[in-house]
């Protein structure tokens, strides 16, 4: 018992250190600066514009890319085909490469002369921001949805098909609802990741500024103490949006 108690203490202390590491800076940021500098910040249109822009682009990007990501996740979970494991690994690559490199890769393929761009401009516009956000955050949605589809027993889908339901009906009425929890979680994670993206976005679209780029610019121009309240507001809004989405997702379940 004594050993167990000692073990519990060690686990609790180590956990507390990690939690403190995450919570302390956020707490200091939110409590320490926001109230003192709220007045000038509330009139800073550029800050509010960047936040609004970030939220809208991240949300629409997640929504649009879900249309392709969910079927891809379904395929990866439910079908066997050549190079499947390789494809699963490739999907995770955006998570492990430096995001500035991801931005450069995107720029390369969407450059004016590339076969894919057809003259579509992505530099310094909303489309560029959206592509940068999607590239680095899509794996989170795909892998979460794939996990959800994988957990559906093969017997359930077999039974539905044998009852005369077409594959489309089985997907819409059985697979999608059963994987919904994972899909929503993936959606929230992709949205949150897209919203916080800096490296890939700054390479492709410095302007119009997303909140993370704006923070970077203000920090360079005016220093740490100036930028603290702005960072606090961005963190606070991100947290609020994240919590609201979590609550909504829980209600949908």
């Amino acid at each position: 018992m004594k050993n167990k108690s000692l073990f519990n203490w060690i686990v609790m202390i180590l956990s507390a250190i990690v939690l403190l590491f995450i919570i302390a800076p956020l707490f200091k940021l939110l409590i320490g600066s926001i109230w003192t500098s709220w007045q000038p910040l509330s009139n800073d249109i550029e800050v509010w514009d960047s936040i609004r822009r970030t939220l809208i682009v991240a949300f629409i990007t997640t929504l649009i890319f879900s249309v392709g990501a969910i079927p891809l996740a379904y395929l990866l979970a439910k079908r066997e085909f050549i190079f499947k494991k390789l494809i699963i690994s490739i999907i995770d690559i955006p998570l492990v490469i430096p995001h500035s490199a991801a931005g450069i890769a995107l720029l390369t393929i969407w450059s004016e002369n590339s076969f894919i761009s057809h003259g579509i401009q992505i530099v310094d516009n909303w489309l560029g921001i959206s592509l940068a956000m999607a590239f680095v955050s899509l794996p989170l949605l795909i892998q979460s949805a794939r996990e959800g589809f994988s957990q559906i027993s093969e017997n359930i889908e077999k039974s539905a098909l044998s009852l005369g339901a077409s594959p489309t009906k089985v997907f819409l009425r059985i697979s999608l609802p059963l994987a919904w929890k994972h899909i929503v979680t993936g959606f929230i994670m992709m949205f949150a990741r897209g919203m916080s993206e800096f490296g890939a976005v700054v390479v492709i679209a410095y302007y119009p500024m997303t909140s993370s780029v704006l923070l970077f610019e203000r920090m360079n121009q005016f220093g740490l103490s100036y930028v603290q309240p702005i960072a606090a507001v961005i963190v606070l809004i991100s947290l609020i949006v994240f919590i609201i989405l979590r609550i909504l997702a829980h209600k949908i379940k």
Binding site: S153, N155, I156, K158, S159, A160, L161, S162, L163, G164, A165, S166, P167, R173, I174, P177, L178
Partner: protein
């Protein structure tokens, strides 16, 4: 109604070889085999989940080998996890919207589902789940029901109830193909049996035919017959087992190496030699007594170990115990002889 012609299916390290079966309307077929025998693969091919490498499947003389699952008109019920967990029992049963209400109510009453209609699958017992799965299969108006080990995950207490339902479904005229490894299920439910072993269909027929004439030792063992021995033919209806004992049979199989099969129910135990017409009499020693719910299995060493099945009453009356000397008696006609496998 359903013709399975030369169905072959190849997997790395496994081959389902040239399966031929004809299933007529209203028949209850049991496909019996151990795990790895290929019985579930055959069922998957019938259902349309797997495409055969060779061969054809005909339904009412129409080739359905490449018809998609959802257009075949078969319902598939698995051992477990086949109910849709996010839908209530009622919605599970009426999953296909084209269901006729009269038919739906008839089946709800038949399967006694009224009290659980609004429950969800996770709230059901294993027996209730399987009742719902079977009811749902019937509601879809399928012509053939394909059942993959439907009783294997059902609690012992509910097994009998489900078996009765299956027998009732058969009496109502449903065509059923039921895959199992359990000989008791086959005994109780089957009208016809197909026995599979290592990807091959080794015997088909009624259970009586199979019990009477198992084609090889594997079938004999599968049917629960324990007394199966290699024997050497001596001529004059006599066979020698293990160079130790000589057994007389009415069957003369003109091969040097044969298999002797004796049903344990055909063996009579006596505490002294009997003056009877039974041609086979041996003195032995009881080496074990296995008490079963409905009978007692007595193992007697007569040079080979023979199993004799007796009643609990006989065990008590004869006061048999381990190590007792005993006489084994059986008729020559109870000795089934088949050629030994190559």
């Amino acid at each position: 109604m359903l013709d399975i012609v030369n169905i072959t299916y190849q997997l790395p390290g496994f081959l389902l070889k040239n399966i031929n079966v004809t299933i007529n309307k209203g028949e209850y077929w049991i496909i019996l085999g151990e795990s790895g025998s290929g019985k579930t693969i055959l069922l998957d091919i019938l259902a349309g989940f797997k495409k055969p490498s060779k061969g054809k499947i005909y339904k009412n003389n129409e080739d359905i080998t490449h018809v998609p699952i959802y257009k075949r008109g078969f319902s598939y019920v698995t051992a477990q996890n086949s109910l849709f967990p996010h839908l209530s029992v009622k919605k599970n049963i009426a999953f296909q919207q084209k269901v006729d209400n009269v038919q739906l109510n008839k089946i709800i009453n038949w399967f006694n589902l009224k009290s659980i209609l609004n429950k969800y699958p996770k709230e059901l017992s294993s027996g209730e789940s399987q009742r719902v799965a079977l009811a749902r299969a019937l509601v879809s108006n399928s012509e053939i029901l394909l059942l993959d080990e439907p009783l294997s995950s059902v609690d012992a207490s509910a097994r009998y109830e489900i078996m009765l339902l299956l027998r009732q479904m058969h009496r109502e005229g449903y065509t059923i193909v039921h895959v199992t490894h359990d000989f008791q299920e086959a005994l109780i439910l089957s009208q016809k049996v197909a026995i599979m072993h290592s990807g091959e269909l080794i015997q088909t027929g009624t259970m009586t035919e199979i019990l009477k004439n198992p084609v090889n030792p594997f079938v004999a063992k599968l049917t629960g017959i324990k007394n199966v021995f290699y024997a050497h033919y001596l001529g004059d209806d006599k066979y020698e087992i293990n160079n130790k004992i000589t057994i007389i049979s009415t069957q003369e199989v003109p091969v040097l190496q044969a298999m002797i099969i004796i049903s344990s129910n055909d063996i009579v135990l006596s505490t002294m030699p009997l003056h009877s017409s039974m041609q086979n009499q041996f003195k032995g020693k009881i080496v074990d007594i296995l008490i079963q719910p409905n009978a007692v299995d007595v193992l007697v060493d007569i040079g080979i170990i023979l199993h004799a099945t007796i009643t609990h009453r006989s065990l008590n009356d004869m006061k048999l115990t381990h190590g007792d000397e005993i006489w084994i008696n059986f008729k020559a006609s109870a000795v089934n002889v088949i050629p030994a496998p190559l």
